[in-house]
């Protein structure tokens, strides 16, 4: 009985130590990627190539999801606001929800599952098939040549994707409330214009998406580079990327929102 208790306590302890060690390892890797980013900027073509795979190929899911999220926001917002006779404020509701929260958060979640998982799987498979070792043996550093361009491509594309998501969402809200339900077009846009503040709402949303971009891509490249070189290893790493980055996005969102909108 005592032995069992002791072994379960020591299990918890060793898991905690492993977790902290891995966190430290990830932090060191993140610094290493930053230090070795010189090549990415000297040869920006490498980043542009990755921007296509990471950013452009994520556009479809971002555009379609943004449109539907905006349409649902419009419908739900209208239903609630009309009870108080303020249906003309639906434009403001749609725009503020998207620009402050849903744009950065939902697009980052989609980005993590579309692009983050792809980055992890690609780097993990390159490791499993010895492509990274081969690169090292050719005196080319895999962190500068493979990891850093993918990291910067993710960081650069995230704010653009979030902005496109928000724009599509506002358009979706407009389609449903103005074109379909019949809310006055003038009040839809003018209320939105007077109540959405560029610095407080749009810039803060942009800052959020930058943080999310760094978090998601840093997690994705680390998990790929650190994955065991086996089929199970790569699949486990891909799953961890999606789970860890989704949690990181939601956690970071709370912290950032607390700082930005409550002035903590």
């Amino acid at each position: 009985m005592f032995k069992q208790l002791a072994s379960s306590i020591s299990n918890i302890g060793s898991r905690a130590i492993d977790g902290i060690w891995r966190l430290g390892h990830a932090a060191r890797f993140f610094l290493l990627v930053l230090l070795k980013s010189g090549t990415s900027f000297q040869r920006f073509g490498l980043v542009i190539r990755e921007l296509y795979y990471v950013g452009v190929l994520s556009l479809i899911i971002i555009v379609v999801s943004g449109l539907f999220v905006g349409m649902v926001l419009g419908l739900q917002g209208y239903e609630t606001l009309q009870k108080y006779g303020s249906e003309s404020a639906v434009g403001t509701l749609v725009a503020l929800s998207l620009v402050r929260e849903l744009g950065p958060v939902v697009s980052a979640l989609l980005f993590a599952s579309r692009a983050g998982s792809a980055i992890t799987a690609e780097i993990g498979l390159m490791k499993a098939t010895e492509q990274l070792s081969a690169m090292g043996m050719m005196a080319v550093d895999p962190v500068s040549r493979v990891v850093a361009p993918r990291f910067w491509a993710g960081v650069i594309s995230m704010p653009f994707l979030a902005a496109i998501f928000s724009v599509m969402g506002v358009f979706g809200g407009y389609l449903v409330t103005v074109m379909f339900i019949g809310v006055d077009v003038g009040s839809f846009w003018s209320q939105m214009q007077s109540n959405v503040d560029f610095r407080i709402d749009i810039i803060n949303g942009f800052i959020k998406s930058c943080f999310f971009g760094v978090a998601v891509t840093a997690i994705a490249v680390f998990e790929g580079y650190d994955s065991p070189p086996t089929a199970e290893g790569v699949s486990g790493a891909t799953t961890r990327t999606v789970v860890t980055s989704s949690l990181a996005i939601l956690g970071l969102d709370f912290i950032l929102t607390a700082f930005m909108f409550r002035g903590i």
Binding site: T129, E130, A134, G136, M137, A139
Partner: protein, 270 residues
């Protein structure tokens, strides 16, 4: 004056955690030689290549490449000597997102300032040497195993290395591809004047092309000699390995308790 020896391995020891893999290896590889390192699976052959390439650090002893101790070099020094080395990985390790042409051009673009027109000519020459000039536009996924390894061979000799290391170049190839790779290794070693090390299980193919053979077993050099010395050797390990005998110094059975004991026969017999 450059010395005749390109790679010198002296009293080399290596352990994974506490498990010793290599125990006191000594080897000398002369310029222009084609050397085979043979031994059973898990005998530490690939680790030896990694030690020569500086991918891992020895626990004792050293590897000297061109009179420089490999593990004492800093990162820049290591990358400097790696530019003089080429390595063919077991399954080619071609970059799957690049075409055959771009794979072979990879090192030239990374390490030289050659104009693209010259790179094109050099790549086609390298591909011609392995008989795959016509396949330069294909992607690695469109190649057979043998072709992929030939492309990888062309890529590894892209910058005319002084030392080529081949990790199991014959594994999983059909007889035709196998002799194509074998004869290519010999021909390229001679024409480029490089030193080549082949790590392999394939006794007959390698004995027909190499100049010298080392047998590694249990982390030590069990035997060494020229192919003809090896073929005539009466040493039990070499004889078993060269003739592919099932039992011998390398036992068929993994260590276990006695067979009757495992089947619980001793109790019933009593």
């Amino acid at each position: 004056m450059t010395s005749d020896t390109l790679v010198e391995i002296s009293d080399l020891n290596f352990s994974y955690d506490a498990r010793p893999i290599l125990k006191g290896i000594n080897m000398t590889m002369k310029r222009g030689q084609l050397i085979a390192i043979m031994g059973g699976s898990g005998s530490g052959k690939t680790t030896l290549l990694k030690l020569i390439g500086g991918e891992v650090i020895p626990s004792a002893g050293y590897v000297k490449f061109s009179d420089q101790v490999v593990h004492e070099l800093d990162r820049d020094g290591l990358f400097e000597i790696r530019r003089k080395m080429g390595m063919l990985f077991q399954f080619g390790a071609l970059f799957t997102d690049l075409s055959v042409f771009d794979n072979v051009a990879f090192q030239m673009r990374e390490h030289t300032d050659l104009p693209e027109s010259m790179i094109r000519d050099l790549v086609l020459m390298k591909l011609n040497a392995v008989g795959l000039r016509g396949a330069h536009h294909l992607m690695p996924a469109e190649l057979s195993g043998g072709m992929a390894r030939r492309v990888a061979l062309a890529r590894s000799i892209a910058l005319d290395p002084m030392l080529m290391m081949f990790d199991e170049p014959f594994t999983g190839l059909d007889p035709i591809s196998l002799s194509v790779i074998g004869s290519l290794i010999r021909r390229l070693t001679d024409t480029l004047g490089m030193t080549s090390i082949i790590v392999t299980h394939d006794v007959q193919e390698s004995l027909s092309i190499v100049d010298y053979v080392y047998f590694v077993a249990d982390g030590v050099i069990a035997a060494h000699g020229t192919p003809s010395e090896v073929r005539e050797s009466v040493a039990p390990f070499v004889h078993q390995f060269v003739h592919g005998e099932v039992d011998g110094p390398v036992p068929f059975h993994y260590p276990a308790q006695s067979y009757p004991q495992d089947l619980n026969l001793e109790k019933t017999l009593v």
